[in-house]
Symmetry: C2
Subunit: 332 residues, 2 copies
């Protein structure tokens, strides 16, 4: 059995750190510096790059069976979600996406029409954010469709918003509303039938919060930021761990997504632990003015950062319960 994901990642980070330490002497190159600023373990790797600009690099798998099902997800949705995962990671650093690369392995019997529609979904989203698809790899898959998206973005030097900057007293914010994607997935699982993507857009066609992320960064609002891809409880635990802090979350303050027709709010558990929302989770010092809305997307305060490493749910009556990271973690 392999290690759980976060142990595996920290193990890789240690081994890779040793390798890059030893090779530090070289690291070119004629005004382009590829040395990583952050180690492995943020939404993106941050490369020094030029005197004015840091580069952001992120890679994200979209694997049939793990991240989508061909019987549930139309090909346009699979292509859109594939790129959205990468764009969202760039947004979570306050960066602007520049260019994307795609490795795509296809089973021999997949219809070309599926592939065309996959690219239609992916390239439509790429155009929306002015991102070019500049290369990649193709291969034959012995199982399902396997995609890996690589997005390169940029951020002014030293301005990438990391997971590690949260301080006790900071307020915790989320964009939009949570739980819509996981509640939709739950419907798909329980009904075992197709849903109309138009009625459940946040699951089938999530919009990465690039513009909100850059406005926040330009206004120096966030002390730490991450995107909610694995679920609020898990992604918040990453901020807590990297910042060496704890958190208190006010469950009644969490904005619940509304899904279906007529639209009804999702259960709290989906908002607390459901993944694939691609909203932003960030912290800001208590006295920072945080707008209620940026670019039509609401920002909601849902708790505060505290000393210690624990995450707690604190309700209106003041009763407290431990909040465990129960979002989606691979290998578990």
């Amino acid at each position: 059995m392999p290690l759980p994901e976060r142990l595996l990642i920290s193990k890789i980070a240690r081994a890779a750190g040793l390798a890059s330490e030893r090779s530090r002497k070289q690291k070119l190159s004629r005004k382009f510096n590829a040395r990583p600023i952050t180690g492995i373990g943020d939404d993106c790797a941050v490369l020094r790059a030029t005197a004015e600009t840091n580069l952001l690099v992120t890679t994200d798998f979209s694997l049939e069976g793990t991240h989508f099902r061909r019987e549930w997800h139309p090909p346009e949705s699979v292509g859109h979600r594939c790129l959205a995962r990468g764009l969202s990671d760039i947004g979570a650093m306050g960066g602007e996406p520049l260019t994307a690369f795609l490795s795509l392995a296809l089973p021999p019997k997949i219809p070309q029409q599926w592939v065309d529609r996959f690219f239609r979904g992916l390239l439509k989203l790429a155009r929306e954010f002015g991102v070019s698809l500049a290369g990649g790899d193709t291969a034959q898959s012995e199982s399902g469709v396997l995609a890996d998206i690589i997005v390169i973005g940029a951020v002014p030097k030293g301005r990438a918003v990391l997971r590690s900057g949260a301080k006790p007293g900071d307020r915790i914010y989320v964009t939009g509303a949570l739980g819509g994607s996981a509640a939709t997935l739950n419907l798909l699982f329980s009904k075992r039938k197709k849903l109309d993507p138009k009625t459940f857009p946040r699951h089938f066609f999530p919009m990465p919060r690039i513009r909100v992320g850059t406005v926040l960064r330009k206004n120096k609002i966030p002390s730490a930021m991450i995107d909610i891809s694995d679920g609020l409880s898990t992604d918040l635990s990453h901020i807590c761990e990297m910042s060496g802090v704890g958190a208190e979350i006010w469950p009644q303050a969490i904005p619940l997504a509304k899904i279906g027709k007529p639209a009804a709010p999702v259960e709290l558990k989906f908002a607390l632990h459901g993944g694939d929302d691609y909203e932003l989770l960030f912290t800001a010092p208590r006295n920072t003015r945080v707008p209620r809305e940026i670019n039509g997307v609401t920002l909601t305060c849902i708790g505060e950062i505290v000393h210690g490493g624990r995450m707690l749910l604190v309700d209106e009556s003041g009763s407290r319960a431990i909040l465990k990271p129960q979002g989606w973690e691979h290998f578990r």
Copy 2:
């Protein structure tokens, strides 16, 4: 059925070209320019990057069942070959590799020891070329081990060696010897048993020709270059297609790899069509002085570029036969 790989790639390139045309206005950014110089379809994408440096980006799958088998390939070999694929693409542009990213999906039951040994092989090769592993993704795989390596490299501005520069009259060269990897694979298939990696190093631990590639580029020797990953006949056809030329290959001049114990030369068919050699194939104007050896690696002239689009085998007696691209192409 999806299209054959090269049709699929040109279709993607057209669709992606449209997308990037439309988004051309933006393309940032504070002294870093991510606009691609080449379209999709060379060993790497070339990004403008800075005033002095172009960036190279390549992505390559290593999929269990397609690119390796766990029963044949020790984990160190799988990790080494995974990174070697990416490094070789950087070398084929005359570039220097800087940093790597890895997306890795693992089946739930794989032993952690396998994963540790995979990273040992990958990071040993990374150290050898001063490359850092700066990030990536992990996921659960429902089938076998799935790896996607991303390598970013650099080359002085405008100096990347493309596939498209070959001219009639140019001589065709290869580094090292060909067919060793495919002949080893053939042994593995026919004997259906393990082979000792030490006796077959070029298959299990191929060394990408980075240093040869940079020396060639610095001395402005190659007019076009590619690495031999799909087989000489297929990779030569890429140069011919992108350059709008044909080629005559002298079969008796092709350096045959020697494999096994005692070492014996492989059959010509493996050298002509066998993939995974990771040698360089390049063209140079007829009057260019090409050294016989660079960094201990021999360079051999194996034919010449001609007008028209055909590839021919021309033997010592002068008899001519059509050379079809019969190397490894996915989806066929």
